[in-house]
């Protein structure tokens, strides 16, 4: 009864030292987030507002999206609409070809991961350079991100050192983060200056002004867009918000929730194309409009991709991003994966102890854990329910719906205490892997009550306050 996630998590935990480091480091980020959140008396009000503004924007998405597109076009940007990943990739390729782009420099974009843009472009002869340090490391390793904000959080400095030795010809055995970051700075500086086009994601699209807002700490989106004559923005349709007042709410929540900073270093507002260059905005649906009609999971569209739910998730911290089969891990990823394809990603639904911490850190108050609970209820009808869990649940139902059988069972239970260890603790018994079984009491509570061994509380006024 082990899901794919459970098996991968076991492998992750087998490397005890690394697993503990992962857990500890992400918890540190959660603590930083807590410190920043506690500094603002209005924190919970901000979360409420952020949620309400998103619900409003989503339920008027046609209006805000049209308005955003019209304003952006009036500003001089070209707006494209993509129904799905294929159309998105085709549009991007077309723009790049029109401008004879050989090299594209990108800042981090979960949407382009979702669309598998990089391999698509590379197969068509375009060099794609990721410019976020973490993303660049992973690109050079030909690996995927394991966290949406800290993509290389699963790697040790020595692994990065080795990689840079080979790819960027850094000093042998020098894995000092400062040294390696500086090497990447020099390497990517050259890429920025020689790229033919830049691509960014979008944290927010502001309907009132038609501007795209991109947040980074490194300044890589800004460096990328400062030199080449072409800027392509890849933006999910759910990123549109009404106006600057709404934006002020999200810019206060995003970095505090994501990394425990009061603001991202760069919060850049792209309103008009740079003089002499082109700005294209590709608005991508790829299943989002359908999710609007899914009342149980609509709230996933509020997500501002801060990653706080991953940092707090006790399961994510102890299993790593790669244990999840969808490219976005953790609580939000479990839900987004199921919206993408229950068939492919249902294995992640078990990776949750329903502790509800994610619900409470989420800056836009997505009901993440409730949604995971609801997905579990659907697994059976999707033919994805765990067979053993199903049998156990049916057995429990049988037992508990028959009080006399249950009471008989309570009487017999203590005999289990005397079974030989090999019968209880064997590989088929997942509980016994790291835990002893509870010892059944000689007499159940029910039996004691029946026998009059429990004092039956009576009405009296003995207690005075």
């Amino acid at each position: 009864m082990s899901s794919q996630h459970a098996k991968a998590a076991r492998r992750f935990l087998d490397n005890n030292e690394q697993a503990q480091w992962h857990n500890r480091t992400l918890w540190m980020v959660r603590e930083k987030r807590d410190r920043l959140a506690m500094q603002l008396p209005e924190w919970e009000e901000l979360r409420n507002l952020a949620s309400q503004i998103k619900m409003h924007s989503l339920s008027h998405l046609d209006y805000y999206l049209s308005r955003f597109a019209a304003r952006a076009e009036a500003n001089g940007a070209l707006v494209h609409w993509a129904k799905d990943a294929d159309e998105h990739n085709a549009i991007v390729l077309n723009i790049l070809n029109e401008h004879k782009v050989k090299k594209l420099v990108k800042s981090k974009s979960m949407l382009t991961e979702e669309c598998h843009l990089n391999p698509f472009l590379e197969a068509r002869g375009i060099e794609v350079v990721e410019s976020d340090l973490g993303e660049r490391i992973l690109q050079l390793m030909q690996a995927a991100p394991s966290h949406i904000v800290m993509p290389a959080i699963h790697l040790k400095r020595q692994e990065v050192g080795k990689l840079f030795e080979e790819k960027l010809h850094t000093e042998k055995d020098n894995s000092d983060p400062g040294y390696l970051t500086h090497a990447a700075r020099l390497h990517l500086r050259n890429e920025f200056l020689t790229a033919d086009a830049a691509m960014t994601g979008a944290n927010f699209g502001v309907a009132e002004t038609g501007e795209v807002v991109v947040c980074t700490n490194e300044g890589n989106a800004d460096m990328g867009t400062s030199f080449p004559p072409l800027h392509i923005v890849s933006m999910g349709i759910e990123k549109v918000i009404p106006d600057h007042q709404a934006l002020s709410v999200y810019t206060r929540l995003l970095a505090r929730s994501a990394t425990g900073q009061p603001a991202t270093t760069y919060t850049s507002h792209y309103r008009k194309p740079r003089p002499g260059s082109g700005m294209h905005i590709v608005l991508v649906d790829n299943g989002r409009s359908r999710t609007l009609g899914n009342e149980e999971h609509l709230q996933t569209l509020k997500c501002i991709r801060c990653g706080a739910c991953m940092n707090t998730c006790p399961v994510y911290r102890r299993s790593g991003g790669y244990a999840y089969t969808y490219f976005i891990p953790g609580p939000i990823g479990i839900n987004l994966g199921m919206l993408r394809s229950p068939d492919r990603y249902s294995g992640n639904v078990a990776a949750c102890s329903l502790c509800y911490s994610c619900n409470l850190v989420c800056p836009v108050r997505i009901d993440l854990a409730d949604q995971i609970y609801r997905w579990r209820q659907q697994l059976d009808s999707l033919g994805k329910a765990d067979r053993v869990k199903k049998i156990v649940s049916a057995g429990m139902n049988y037992l508990f719906m028959r009080p006399s059988v249950y009471n008989q069972g309570l009487r017999l239970a203590p005999s289990v205490n005397h079974l030989p260890r090999f019968m209880i603790y064997n590989p088929l018994n997942a509980w016994g892997i790291g835990r002893e079984f509870p010892v059944f009491a000689k007499e159940s509570f029910t039996r004691m009550w029946e026998k009059g061994k429990v004092k039956k509380p009576q009405n009296k006024d003995a207690y005075e306050q």
């Binding site: 500094q39 209005e42 046609d62 609409w81 993509a82 159309e87 810019t251 009609g293």
Partner: protein, 192 residues
């Protein structure tokens, strides 16, 4: 039907329930001394904010702060230490190698150390490419929080603008904080 029409039609078809925009304007944190708070938070984000003393010469101060700087780019009036007028470069790449960029900020935000810089040079690269960035900011233009800052942007026209909070940084290798990922390795704000 174009993709645009199809997407918009899909959206309309799927929306089940509408929600109102919350009416309340967010109440943001306020500080008894915005300047002191701005200076403190600037330090916490890896930058520095300093007050120019009464009668102090700004160019002299800049020279003292950046004795090593060779190429200094600025188009600000009254800044004489500049060696490069960024409005005269032909391509933004020509700004590569700039040791120090000196620019003007329009709004400071006490809650997070952000400085609003609407683009007022030829190439926005000036805000990102110099090794060090120095921002001049009128200390009376510090607001409490982002709500107040964005309220002021309503009346401000810009093609590109950025809120900058501290120097460029990354923690992508083992969460070890390193300053100077791609942009400025050091960021100072002089409050005038």
């Amino acid at each position: 039907m174009s993709s645009k029409d199809e997407i918009l039609a899909n959206i309309r078809q799927h929306i089940r329930q509408t929600y109102d925009l919350p009416g309340i304007r967010p109440r943001g944190i306020c500080y008894p001394d915005k300047i002191a708070q701005f200076i403190e938070v600037s330090r916490s984000v890896g930058g520095e904010a300093i007050l120019l003393q009464e009668g102090e010469d700004i160019n002299q101060r800049i020279r003292t702060l950046y004795p090593e700087a060779r190429t200094i780019a600025s188009n600000l009036p009254g800044i004489s230490v500049q060696t490069l007028n960024p409005d005269e470069v032909e391509t933004p790449a020509q700004l590569n190698g700039t040791d120090l960029g000196i620019v003007r900020g329009e709004i400071g935000v006490a809650e997070n150390g952000c400085v609003w810089i609407p683009q007022n040079v030829k190439e926005k690269a000036l805000y990102f490419i110099p090794e060090y960035l120095l921002i001049l900011l009128d200390k009376t233009k510090i607001v409490n929080n982002m709500h107040e800052a964005y309220a002021q942007l309503q009346t401000c026209a810009y093609d590109f603008g950025v809120f900058l909070s501290g120097p460029s940084k990354t923690a992508d290798i083992e969460q070890a904080l390193v300053v100077g990922a791609h942009g400025a390795k050091g960021l100072r704000v002089i409050l005038v």
